[in-house]
Symmetry: C2
Subunit: 209 residues, 2 copies
DNA sequence: TTGACAAGTGACCGCTCGTTCGCTATAATA
DNA sequence: TATTATAGCGAACGAGCGGTCACTTGTCAA
């Protein structure tokens, strides 16, 4: 009950900031969406900017927890088709989880105004996915699923187009279905280009390593 | 002399809007950067929003002129290395032309607030480059430079990673050199993957079609 | 029961915003 | 030369902003 309101203010701030931007958001409207009056906000935050900073702190902590350690990396796919499936599942989450969507929008529109937002934007939009798939592709090459190549280059070539379609979904949600189909097609094209065993992808059912 | 000031206001608006956003920009500061006082602005525009609309009109007209017709498409490269060279030249312009950079930033930060900005953003960040390279790759396949494949898929796979690095340069200009090197490496990797005549790329000096 | 504290309220403050308006200087037009 | 339109100026306006403060209410410990 104590810092529950504080948390709700942060949630409302994420929503409004991601839609109207920091400058376009006013505190009266923000607190009104929680059934409060603007002066109540100052019981929980010193001022508007402190909301912004707390929001960024939370985002940084969240991503340190989810992407910081190598422990919670996804399992390396056993087949090429499994790579497509895993990709689609990850994209589905990232597109439909509202908080993740709002975070992405927020970083997009505030990246030129705030330095920490800028850093986070690069991590999100570029580095993290790439590093993750660098690890995955390394594993898949060791398993003989992908042809030998620079795994980081492949990860970049794989994740950047997918990222661009995720951004498209943020911008024009009505194109989400189309974008998802494109991602699937692209992923399929990717494994046709870089995968081994093109002839019988779902073959070699079990047994050996 | 008459509408010269009007034009200068639009230039200053592009600069300030792209840095601070529409809401973060105030007219006093904008006009002061031109040595004017804020009330003078109203001799040229009805209000702040009309500046924004005029700016978007200009951008739409510019892109209709530069990308609308098929006439001013670049020539299809004659060799694979030429593709890399052409790419680097295009990227160089798009990264160092300040007006283009500011336009991209503006569309990035205002895409969720204004519908026309949203449409333009998709055109810029996704559609236009892809269509251009679809045409180029079609031509290169016909010339036997690229292996037969879906040219649109290849164009997407080629331009999306490059776009993502262009966005990186907008966000963190100090990484420009690094990004340019990455683009060159990526482009080289691309022609190694999809190009024919891998053994002697610069060979077949002349003569045949 | 009392005291202390946290949380919410509403009135208010100063400031900045976008915008208006009457004025002046300039330069082209008649 | 007289007239008129243009462009810039500076003072002023109302509205809305972020922020402050004295006050009330509810909760819980002493």
């Amino acid at each position: 009950m104590a810092n529950d309101t504080k948390e709700r203010i942060l949630e409302a701030a994420l929503e409004m900031f991601s839609q109207k931007g920091y400058d376009g958001t006013n505190i009266r409207e923000l607190t009104a969406s929680l059934g409060l009056v603007k002066s109540s906000m100052y019981k929980h935050f010193e001022n508007k900017e402190e909301i912004w900073n707390a929001l960024l702190d939370k985002m940084i902590a969240y991503y340190a927890q989810h992407f910081g350690s190598r422990e919670n990396l996804p399992p390396v796919p056993e087949t090429l088709d499994e790579l497509v499936g895993m990709t689609m599942r990850m994209v589905d989450v990232t597109i439909h989880d509202e908080k993740i969507v709002m975070t992405r929008k927020l970083l997009t529109i505030e990246q030129f105004r705030d330095e920490r937002a800028r850093e986070l934007a690069t991590k999100h939009f570029l580095t993290e996915l790439k590093e993750m798939f660098t690890y995955i592709f390394e594993g898949m090459m060791n398993k003989g699923l992908l042809r030998q190549d620079d795994p980081e280059m492949l990860a970049f070539a794989y994740t950047a187009p997918i990222s661009s379609l995720i951004h498209l979904c943020d911008r024009e949600p009505e194109k989400t279905d189309d974008a998802l189909a494109q991602i699937k097609t692209f992923s399929g094209h990717f494994i046709k280009t870089y995968g081994k065993n093109n002839a019988n992808r779902t073959a070699v059912p079990s047994g050996n390593e």
